[in-house]
């Protein structure tokens, strides 16, 4: 039994992450401050803070919590830790300055700076930490939550139990604040006043304890109904809990009161001496984190043949898909062509975009036929001037999304194989006759999907130091040299911004003689909000916000995310069938086509016009709605991308075992496993919503930055951004609605 009790820990990852973050920030800041002011930021303070956090963990995740609903005494110990142990220990660490110093400089200065300088917040903080307020807060929380009605509410509801614990902890932080006098706040009462402050709190504690100890009946009914462990009656349990509250609780109040009394009698000055904290040197010169400099992984990625190897693997898979698609059974769940592209590849590709960058283009299997075409065919012509834009690729993207719905590509291995063959042929012919990477830049719809969505990725191929490039005269990154070609998409690294048109081919990395190009971390979406402001267009792509073709691509991909997912949910499928029946059509083709074109072309056009016109009026600026539609189209990219990720990762998670039937079939297992879809994990809807939350916040932020660049005046910027923010919220609401509907598992046997 003892073992069972001792192993009853929860290890809630949310709490662990939160506490680890709090510890990390404190330790980071404390190390700096300890060097500057070793007398104030002593190891004792560090130890107190960390023990305080550990106490919080014990209170919330240990067996105390597991047994809290069976034993009042366990619950009482938990409350004592939350009220009387963890908060004073944390405050003894004097945490304000170390935590602020532990934050990344940018967050501290740009993020928290305006709040820290806000007089209203300081005033509020001063009122909140007034000893009278602090004492009342603690007493109110303590008494209120021990009243039977509210105590029972907390026992019977995990949500209210959490609220109760939060009330205890934060009220206790307030209570101990003036006692410990957290620096840099200033004392609002004389120090000796803390003695009656503590004694009065102890009187309340004593009264409540006595009520529990001397009560003639069980105060909290749940403990009367709960099974008794080890033969202890509910009354005995209650008396023990009261004694725990009374004796150790009183000691926690009275010992500091005694120490303060001694200090007052001895005339000890407790006012801390002023401490000057030296400013920390700027870290702006520190090189950004670079994937190519990660031990083990970096050298592999940089290896000259790395890309060829991964491309060969994907090429082999593509060939296998084509063969199986043409010659295998035309049942999607049993065919490689029905499973690999539609369940796995799409899911992994968007997750790679979210977590890294355009890794699919890095491993693109079409690269090898492109190279073959260049060897076998002349490859001397320049791509026609009239086609040097994204319009062709955008049209192909619309065509592909339409064909996906109309021809049910996910359920047709034969069609899937033909698409891949068509892709290989096009790549071979285009790059066989035209110079550069014309196929990637102007034709490939998959590439455009990745180029645009990689603008939200956290990694970017870019220069490590601009100073190195300033003295460069050869520009090998774009021109190439005797041993290595330069960027085929004409992206000049020193002026490149964002991942648009970047295939992560690493040609520039290999070509740079000074090893000045890496895969660096960047702020997701930063190139989107910096683009309208940049006076100098980004190399190779110009200014995105001035390009109608790129903006059209953005609109198509944002609304494509909605249409692609909406076409799989039951209500939308029901409406389409109803419309089809009402019109008396024999085929779904006309209805699907009309609804698809309305959703992916007409709706964005109409909404762009409406928002652009409204923004011109509300923002009181001159110009055309088209210009605004171009600029603000990119603000919606994060939202559209989050919908693609939420949708494709859903299919990947549900169907992660869908390769098994294909595997069984190929190995000639007599009865291939068919129903292998996994139930949706309980956390998946929350994770999908969090993805969309992130997309919405980033989209509105980019829209705001775009608006601020258009006009310096606050009210006009607000007017300018409002229609786009409303549109973003509308897209978010539509995405949520789609995710909440039952979704078809296309290409899978359910």
């Amino acid at each position: 039994m003892a073992e069972a009790i001792l192993t009853s820990w929860r290890f809630d990852p949310r709490l662990i992450l939160l506490l680890a973050l709090a510890a990390l920030l404190y330790v980071r800041g404390w190390r700096v401050l300890h060097r500057q002011s070793p007398r104030r930021f002593t190891p004792d303070r560090l130890a107190a803070y960390l023990i305080g956090l550990a106490t919080l963990f014990v209170a919330l995740d240990s067996p105390l919590d597991a047994f809290g609903n069976l034993l009042l005494e366990a619950h009482m110990v938990q409350h004592m830790l939350l009220l009387l142990v963890a908060p004073p220990l944390i405050l003894l660490g004097q945490p304000i300055l170390p935590i602020l110093r532990g934050l990344p400089r940018r967050i501290l200065k740009d993020g928290l700076g305006p709040f820290l300088a806000w007089r209203g917040l300081r005033r509020m903080g001063r009122r909140l930490t007034h000893p009278a307020v602090c004492w009342l807060a603690m007493t109110a929380a303590f008494v209120f939550w021990h009243m039977p009605r509210w105590y029972e509410l907390a026992l019977n509801s995990p949500v209210w139990h959490g609220v109760e614990h939060a009330c205890f902890f934060y009220a206790a932080i307030l209570f101990w604040w003036p006692v410990i006098q957290v620096w840099p706040s200033q004392a609002q009462w004389p120090r000796w006043m803390m003695i009656p402050y503590l004694i009065l709190a102890d009187i309340v504690n004593t009264a409540l304890s006595a009520w529990l100890v001397f009560s003639t009946n069980v105060v909290y009914r749940s403990y009367e109904l709960a099974p008794r462990l080890g033969g202890m009656s509910a009354m005995d349990d209650q008396s023990t809990a009261g004694a725990i509250m009374w004796v150790p609780g009183s000691m926690v109040y009275l010992i500091p009161a005694f120490l303060l009394t001694m200090q007052a009698l001895n005339g000890v000055r407790t006012r801390p001496a002023a401490v000057r904290i030296k400013p920390v040197a700027s870290r702006s010169n520190r090189p950004a984190w670079d994937l190519l400099r990660v031990p083990a992984l970096g050298p592999i990625l940089r290896h000259r043949h790395f890309r060829t190897v991964v491309q060969s693997v994907l090429l082999a898979l593509a060939v296998a898909i084509v063969i199986d698609g043409f010659f295998g059974p035309q049942i999607a769940p049993l065919n490689l062509a029905g499973v690999l592209p539609w369940t796995y590849w799409r899911g992994f590709a968007v997750i790679a975009l979210l977590a890294g960058g355009n890794l699919f283009c890095m491993a693109c299997p079409f690269m090898l036929p492109r190279n073959l075409g260049r060897r076998l065919l002349p490859a001397r012509n320049r791509w026609p001037r009239m086609l040097r834009s994204k319009w062709l690729a955008a049209a192909l993207l619309v065509l592909y999304l339409w064909a996906y719905e109309v021809f049910r590509l996910w359920s047709s291995p034969w069609w899937t194989a033909w698409i891949i063959v068509g892709y290989f042929t096009t790549a071979f012919v285009v790059d066989g006759f035209f110079r550069g990477a014309s196929f990637c830049k102007y034709v490939c719809p998959i590439g455009q999907f990745h180029f645009l969505n990689a603008l939200v990725s956290p990694l970017e191929v870019k220069i490590r130091s601009s100073a190195v490039c300033t003295s460069c005269r050869t520009h090998d990154c774009v021109r190439g040299n005797a041993t290595q070609r330069g960027c085929e998409l004409h992206l000049f690294q020193p002026r490149k911004s964002g991942n648009f048109d970047c295939t992560f081919c690493l040609d520039c990395v290999h070509a740079c003689p000074r090893d000045n190009v890496g895969i660096l971390k960047s702020i997701p979406g930063s190139s989107l909000f910096l683009d309208p402001a940049s006076e100098r267009p980004s190399a190779g792509i110009g200014k995105l916000s001035a390009r109608s073709d790129a903006a059209a691509l953005a609109w198509i991909l944002v609304f494509g995310a909605l249409i692609n997912a909406a076409a799989m949910v039951d209500p939308v499928i029901g409406w389409m069938h109803s419309l089809d029946a009402a019109l008396g059509l024999r085929s779904m083709l006309p209805v699907t086509t009309v609804l698809f074109l309305a959703g992916i072309l007409a709706a964005p056009l109409l909404l762009a016009w409406m928002c652009g016109t409204a923004a011109l009026r509300l923002g009181r600026i001159a110009g055309s709605w088209k210009r605004l539609a171009r600029s603000f189209a990119f603000a919606l990219v994060p939202l559209g991308f989050s919908m693609w990720v939420a949708h494709f990762s859903y299919h990947l998670l549900i169907g992660w075992r869908s390769i098994v039937p294909v595997y069984d079939r190929i190995l000639r297992v007599s009865a291939p496993a068919m129903n292998l879809s996994a139930p949706a994990p309980a956390w998946l809807p929350a994770a999908q919503i969090l993805l969309l939350d992130g997309g919405l916040v980033l989209s509105v932020y980019i829209a705001w930055r775009t608006a601020r660049r258009q006009t310096g005046e606050m009210s006009r910027a607000l007017g300018l951004v409002s229609p786009w923010a409303v549109l973003a919220i509308g897209i978010y609401a539509a995405s949520i609605w789609i995710l909440f509907q039952p979704m078809q598992m296309r290409g899978m046997v359910m």
Partner: protein, 174 residues
């Protein structure tokens, strides 16, 4: 800040173990005393945790090596699950998570078989009223409110920045 999505995703994936919940039934069935807990409260269609505490009726010591089976029936549909210590935070309990898609009155039966299998299994039964599933908007309300909360903080941040830039220009010279 850049790590935030990762943190949030991990936070969302937290698997909360059953920790008892509300007492549904407490019954002496020698040689055991069996207590059944249900969570969430009230139970709603969807995943429901049923936890069982088995005690020796003479000593009230928890019995930790029993075989506990839970069966739920309603209108011909039947769900069976084996309750184990792995699915609960409180390792004195046995718990099982069952998916009850249909709201309404379910009948549950908990069978407890002693480890030595010397006696016949002891079974206790009761009714479980399952409420309809919580509307998704309410179930995920906090997640849906999150971006608007973030945007409100950001709006305040921008207003403060603007005000802090404006005030020095408008304040009278000293």
């Amino acid at each position: 800040m850049r790590r935030l999505p990762g943190w949030l995703l991990l936070a969302a994936s937290a698997r909360l173990l059953a920790d008892g919940g509300l007492v549904l039934l407490h019954q002496q069935s020698p040689p055991f005393v069996i207590t059944v807990f249900e969570s969430p409260t009230p139970p709603r269609s969807g995943p429901i945790d049923l936890s069982v505490l088995v005690q020796a009726s003479e000593t009230l010591e928890p019995v930790l090596d029993a075989d506990v089976q839970i069966e739920l029936t309603r209108d011909g549909s039947q769900i069976q699950a084996r309750a184990t210590h792995d699915q609960t935070q409180n390792k004195l309990l046995y718990a099982a998570s069952v998916d009850l898609d249909d709201p309404g009155a379910w009948r549950y039966t908990v069978s407890v078989q002693a480890a030595d299998r010397a006696l016949k299994p002891i079974a206790v039964s009761g009714d479980l009223a399952v409420a309809p599933e919580q509307p998704k908007l309410a179930a995920y309300g906090s997640y849906l409110a999150l971006p608007f909360f973030c945007l409100a903080i950001f709006a305040l941040h921008q207003w403060l920045r603007w005000r802090q830039r404006e005030i020095p220009q408008t304040s009278p010279p000293r």
